[in-house]
Symmetry: C2
Subunit: 199 residues, 2 copies
């Protein structure tokens, strides 16, 4: 095409690398950046660097945080005896939106998926075991996504954790099967939490 | 929410400012940035600054470019006597994809819209007049969007330009090629019928 503008194409490619962004959306966003003021563009660029630099994993629950401990782990009002296990930080955010769960979390950063070559040792399962072995944990609620990988991971965790003497529960099927936890509405999530069952 | 991470929220807000990006998509993109390597994130940030810094308007046709003249204006093979007027650089890209038009362009950067407070003097119309007054232009094809604002702008341009002795034409209206007639709206069908051609 005659109208190739290198720096615009490069910016568009960068947007295209992000999850869920198609080629047309990426180009639209790149054009959109050109409409920002210089200051706005500079602050956009800086916010990317800031996010990458400041955000790391909470050493306790492996959630994302820009402080020493994440806000949940740092909150003395949360009940450390109940750990809710989620696959990623977005699922954790979804759980927090329910405003009902007063326990703490553990973020696996993935789900077991032999098809995609994801094995248990690539997830933050070792860290979960260590937390439980340090004592004080009574219940682990497995809130992995209600799909095949989520189920497999839940099963794996339940077999692994039961010998340690903790109660292992799973979110009730109130969450729509096959969907991403991230998109579940608060009421569905609340019902799922309320109706959790023993393995 | 307990799980507020300031730098993540700020990054998400930045994505949310871009055209066509909703709140959920913005947050997903922000999370996606965290999955980039440090180098990738740095090059993303840099590409925003680069695009803003390097891209400016072509002094002839007002299209975006990172060179002195845009690629079309700099191409001696293009016919400067036919100017195709488009509302924005994306429309220009769409026209270029046709690979049929060998004339040059003029980008208005907007459409006349009294409802949204956009008046002719806010568009690159003065620059178009100056081009035509410099001579050598025989035809102006008005290819503004086929909607109310596009029509109003086309009408305005046609009244303005005809006294200068240039031919002013408008893109043909009709049914889109490859589409089902069943789904064409009445106005489009009426225009297609009105503009029917002999075989």
């Amino acid at each position: 095409m005659a109208e190739y503008i290198e720096s615009l194409e490069r910016l568009s490619e960068q947007f295209g690398r992000l999850e869920g962004v198609g080629k047309k959306s990426a180009m639209r966003m790149a054009f959109s950046v050109l409409e920002l003021s210089d200051e706005e563009a500079a602050s956009f660029a800086q916010s990317i660097l800031d996010a990458k630099q400041k955000i790391h994993l909470c050493p306790v629950c492996q959630n994302l945080t820009d402080r020493e401990l994440c806000n949940v782990c740092a909150d003395p009002g949360r009940d450390g005896s109940i750990i809710c296990v989620v696959n990623d930080p977005r699922a954790l955010l979804a759980m927090e939106r329910v405003r009902e769960f007063r326990g703490v979390y553990h973020v696996l950063h993935g789900l077991i998926s032999p098809m995609n070559g994801v094995t248990p040792d690539q997830l933050k399962i070792k860290e979960l075991l260590e937390r439980i072995q340090r004592g004080g944990v009574e219940e682990v609620i497995v809130a992995t996504d209600p799909n095949v990988e989520g189920e497999a991971t839940a099963m794996y965790l339940s077999r692994l954790l039961r010998p340690l003497g903790v109660k292992v529960t799973r979110l009730a099927y109130g969450v729509p099967v096959g969907a991403d936890l991230e998109y579940a509405d608060e009421i569905t999530l609340f019902r799922a939490l309320e109706g959790r069952r023993n393995f």
